[in-house]
């Protein structure tokens, strides 16, 4: 990416990922600009989600996955030995494809992350929970029901709750793995608006399946195909003046 003058907080060097014998990601080199929305697009099975999950070391939980290369976040290689994976994950908030509320009340869902990261003072927790529920626009919608089960919320509300839960522990990056694909258009719009608001403070990296969404919100695009990066460019250049034929074909809908 030819962005000058911006400090690059996430950079990936010579990253290879294998799942058993399959070479899923092939020699990935990337720099992701801060305080902007980067969308990773590409056809199913191209390795978008796998790439995203290397950024918060989610693959640690699947022993079949082998990773080589460097992922540097704020100057630190997160795959270096003795890196605390919990700090990595706290820093890189992940929003999953399908919202997954925790089996507890709405309030406790947001408070959970705060508690496990050591916040004890009730007043502080309370204030932070309210703040983030307001931030994602849930507070007014569900007011008075914060003590009821999170499972009772609609799917769109649940996804915003998950976002609030992730934001409450104050990550520095937001990773979204097709975070709106299970939502209706109105909920999708709300989440997208949130992302646009959030990019002032956070670096956002989204995997998305819908080109239209990428057009609506992306500042930078990464187009992947068969485990490789085909093209990575600022949104305007990517959509109006793509360099690779494969990108042109993908944008025109020849394959998806």
């Amino acid at each position: 990416m030819e962005q000058t003058g911006q400090p690059h907080n996430v950079s990936i060097e010579n990253l290879d990922v294998f799942i058993e014998a399959n070479h899923i990601l092939k020699n990935i080199n990337l720099t992701i600009p801060e305080k902007s929305i980067t969308c990773i697009i590409g056809p199913s099975g191209c390795g978008k989600s796998t790439l995203l999950r290397t950024l918060n070391r989610m693959h640690d939980e699947t022993p079949e996955v082998r990773i080589s290369g460097k992922v540097t976040v704020d100057g630190q290689n997160i795959y270096a030995p003795r890196v605390d994976v919990i700090n990595v994950r706290k820093k890189m908030g992940l929003l999953a494809q399908r919202p997954c509320p925790l089996p507890m009340s709405v309030f406790d869902n947001v408070a959970y992350g705060l508690r496990i990261h050591g916040m004890r003072n009730r007043k502080d927790i309370n204030q932070r929970v309210v703040q983030y529920l307001q931030y994602v626009g849930l507070w007014d919608e569900i007011q008075g029901r914060v003590k009821s089960s999170a499972a009772r919320l609609s799917v769109g509300q649940q996804q915003r709750l998950c976002l609030a839960r992730g934001l409450a522990i104050e990550p520095e990056y937001i990773l979204g793995d097709e975070a709106t694909s299970s939502l209706d258009p109105i909920s999708t719009k709300k989440i997208e608006e949130l992302f646009l608001k959030l990019k002032e403070k956070y670096t956002i990296i989204l995997v998305t399946h819908t080109l239209r969404q990428a057009r609506r919100i992306a500042d930078y695009l990464i187009f992947m195909y068969m485990g490789e990066i085909v093209e990575a460019a600022p949104a305007e250049q990517f959509f109006n003046n793509p360099r690779c034929q494969l990108t042109v074909d993908y944008l025109s809908g020849s394959f998806s």
Binding site: E61, C100, P103, Y112, S149
Partner: protein, 283 residues
């Protein structure tokens, strides 16, 4: 013609399903009917509030409080022991061991076998163990043997549900920066109703089993006050009373069976209540 056959086929299976359903319900009806018909006339307050008096087994005064107390003590003790081992084991094979790894398969295979071992074998094993340790037939012996009997039941039914846990829940917790132990604490909330069901199933198996306690807990007309004392149990109490030639005593056996059934019924209502309570926040 073909269509006609298809409809007949469908109707045949519907009839078969209805017959099976009715059959299974009538079994339950017959069993309950028999013990109620024979037991209810012999059931009175004395049965559940009094110890067997002298000559109880010849038809004189008394009740089976000794057996009720013994059964409850043995069951509670063994449920606690089994839960202490089952919960960590199920968490270990589901959330620490790799899916389909040799070790987790080996563990599941072992408790599948243990699940099928007849209760008299546990009784015999418990007895051998006690002889080796120099213990007499006692409350402790009964608790140990019944724990062995119900542990596989508890592990297996708990494991079945733990396996079905939505995989994105552990992931959501880890991505918030939970350690695995913190993750498991939350997963247990989700699994609480399943754990209660597992406990209930194992209670049902444990409280009604006669063969395990036959050699290991002994029998007494008193309520045990220490782990080393023998303990009576309801199944054995029913067995001894049924073996009596006196008709009145035989009827009391059925009354004892009613008591045993009512205990299980009450326990299952209690567990349903708690199960529903803990399901409140379930996703």
């Amino acid at each position: 013609m073909r269509l006609d056959l298809k409809k007949k086929e469908e109707r045949f299976f519907i009839v078969l399903m209805i017959i099976s359903a009715l059959l299974i319900m009538s079994f339950l009806g017959f069993i309950l009917g028999t013990i109620l018909y024979k037991g209810l006339p012999a059931l009175n307050l004395d049965m559940i509030t009094k110890l067997p008096g002298g000559g109880f087994y010849l038809g004189k005064e008394g009740g089976v409080l000794n057996a009720i107390a013994g059964s409850l003590m043995i069951t509670v003790g063994s449920v606690i022991i089994s839960a202490v081992f089952s919960v960590p084991l199920v968490m270990y094979i589901n959330f620490y061991l790799r899916k389909g790894s040799f070790f987790s398969n080996a563990i599941r295979f072992s408790f599948d076998i243990l699940f099928g071992v007849p209760s008299i074998v546990y009784g015999a094993f418990g007895f051998a163990l006690m002889v080796y340790l120099g213990l007499k037939a006692s409350l402790l012996g009964g608790i140990i043997s019944v724990s062995l009997l119900i542990m596989p039941v508890m592990m297996r039914s708990f494991d079945e549900v733990a396996k079905l846990l939505p995989h994105n829940l552990p992931e959501a917790l880890l991505s918030l920066g939970s350690t695995k132990y913190e993750m498991i604490k939350v997963l247990l909330r989700q699994l609480m109703p399943a754990l209660i069901t597992a406990v209930l199933l194992s209670v049902g198996r444990g409280i009604g089993d006669a063969a395990t306690v036959l050699f290991t807990s002994g029998y007494t007309d008193n309520i045990p006050t220490a782990l080393g004392q023998p303990a009576a149990t309801l199944p054995l109490s029913i067995f001894f009373q049924l073996g009596s030639p006196v008709e009145e005593v035989q009827n009391r056996a059925y009354a004892s069976a009613v008591i045993l059934t009512v205990i299980i019924l009450v326990l299952s209502f209690i567990s349903r209540y708690f199960s529903a309570k803990y399901s409140k926040n379930k996703i």
